[in-house]
């Protein structure tokens, strides 16, 4: 069960254990982490689970597919380290992952 740290726009953070195999988005929804809306429920159709991934973790994640990047174009305030949290599937290798939620999703 990897630990994941969700930071918000103001720097508040919450670290929780999320079951391997779940996405970073699902971990947030199940644990009432604010800042991730996930309107489409994880079908990569809405960009409201958008997060920023810390630089050192970004390289450890499988690269975003074209479809994910297309969706990130639609996200609120996208940056170079933007990802959709529904597409980051947790595993033991990602123990300690840190993500930051944007100021808002829409």
């Amino acid at each position: 069960m990897p630990k994941v740290t969700y930071k918000d726009f103001n720097g508040n953070s919450k670290t929780i254990n999320v079951e391997s195999g779940l996405s970073v988005m699902e971990g947030a929804i199940q644990n009432d982490i604010p800042g991730i809306d996930a309107d489409c429920g994880g079908s990569m159709a809405c960009a409201t689970c958008h997060v920023y991934v810390e630089e050192k973790w970004l390289n450890k994640l499988p690269k975003a597919e074209d479809a994910e990047n297309d969706m990130i174009d639609m996200a609120y305030n996208p940056k170079k380290n933007s990802r959709l949290s529904c597409q980051i599937i947790l595993s033991d290798e990602l123990e300690g992952l840190e993500v930051t939620t944007p100021e808002k999703q829409t």
Binding site: D37, A47, D66, T106
Partner: protein, 337 residues
């Protein structure tokens, strides 16, 4: 003021199927949706993506599903009011009065909210100062091309809308196309036309960069964009157009006094009625124990809701459950002999 038996909010798959379920019971309905076409998320978010869990349909795209539903409800000749959002609802005795953003008014004893995750609205620029220029020199849609003639226009976005409008407006204006990454996603022929225009210097492309600030007082004079490498560039601009797709916003529904659970409406799973008698919710927008956000669940939900709608619309008649295979009355309503 037009009178109906039910007002359907949302023309997604569940809203469309509710027309069928109410129609075979002889009820007259009207459908209202904020998009310019029927289909909801199916048509807006995944028109080309295959869906595999519609019973008896092994595979169909969002667009195909929408077209088939429209075909299925054709016999009922239902009126659609598109491009408008329901703003207000008011109750008078057993009836609900509905007013839309286009000031259309309807009355019915029943409202079915099949609103998905809310109405689709354009996503806006993140920059705070963009707000005060909105509707004056910042737009998220082009309604009247005349307003965009002989101007310096900065277009943001990397999808079809951004590319199509860059092409169109470059005929009579000075266009800069700005996108956060180097890749554009659009039809191949559009992309090659854009590249040609860039070569012949009829259009400028700036990537990968984003809007940093807006300069000007009442009117926009220039914008500053920041490239990924940190470089800042000023661009003379009269008008900004942003095409970042659509987002879903719950909108006024949240203020109708319905019992809400986050962004969903709580319903009684026996008839999908909300805490307000005569207002029903079905599809992604409703919640009850065990709710699954599946299209097929929404179909079931409107089938049950339609029974209660019938009882409210025809209080003096007794509801008779009938099968389409054997009921001459239903077959008549479907235009079959």
């Amino acid at each position: 003021m037009k009178k109906f038996d039910a007002i359907i909010i949302g023309a997604g798959p569940v809203g469309l199927f509710s027309v069928h379920q109410l129609g075979i019971k002889g009820l007259k309905v009207v459908v209202i949706d904020n998009l310019n076409k029927a289909g909801g998320q199916c048509i807006e978010l995944y028109p080309d993506k295959p869906i595999y869990d519609i019973p008896a349909v092994p595979e169909c795209t969002g667009e195909e599903l929408t077209n088939r539903l429209l075909e299925q409800i054709k016999p009922f000749k239902t009126e659609f009011f598109l491009n408008e959002r329901v703003e207000e609802i008011n109750q008078k005795e057993n009836d609900w009065f509905v007013k839309t953003t286009s000031n259309n008014k309807f009355v019915a004893p029943n409202i079915i909210i099949a609103g998905g995750v809310g109405s689709f609205e354009p996503r806006k620029l993140a920059l705070k100062e963009a707000e005060k220029f909105e509707g004056k020199s910042i737009f998220y849609a082009v309604k009247d091309k005349e307003k965009f003639k002989n101007k310096n226009i900065s277009i943001f976005g990397g999808g079809d809308s951004a590319l199509d409008w860059a092409l169109e407006l470059s005929k009579f204006s000075n266009i800069t196309l700005i996108h956060r990454r180097n890749e554009f996603r659009g039809a191949n022929h559009t992309l090659s036309q854009i590249k040609e225009l860039e070569k012949s210097r009829k259009l400028t492309i700036k990537t990968p960069c984003q809007l940093e600030s807006i300069g000007g007082g009442d009117k926009i004079k220039y914008i500053s964009i920041k490239f990924d490498d940190g470089k800042i560039e000023k661009i003379d601009t009269d008008i900004i157009l942003g095409f970042f797709g659509l987002i879903m916003k719950l909108g006024p529904i949240a203020e109708w006094g319905l019992n809400m659970n986050k962004k969903t409406i709580e319903v009684n799973p026996e008839n999908f009625q909300t805490n307000k008698k005569g207002i029903f919710a079905a599809g992604d927008i409703c919640s009850y124990p065990g709710k699954l956000k599946l299209i097929l669940s929404g179909f079931h939900e409107v089938a049950l809701a339609s029974v209660e709608c019938f009882k409210r619309a025809r209080p003096k008649e007794k509801f008779r459950f009938e099968f389409t295979t054997s009921s001459k009355i239903i077959q008549g309503r479907l235009g079959k002999k």
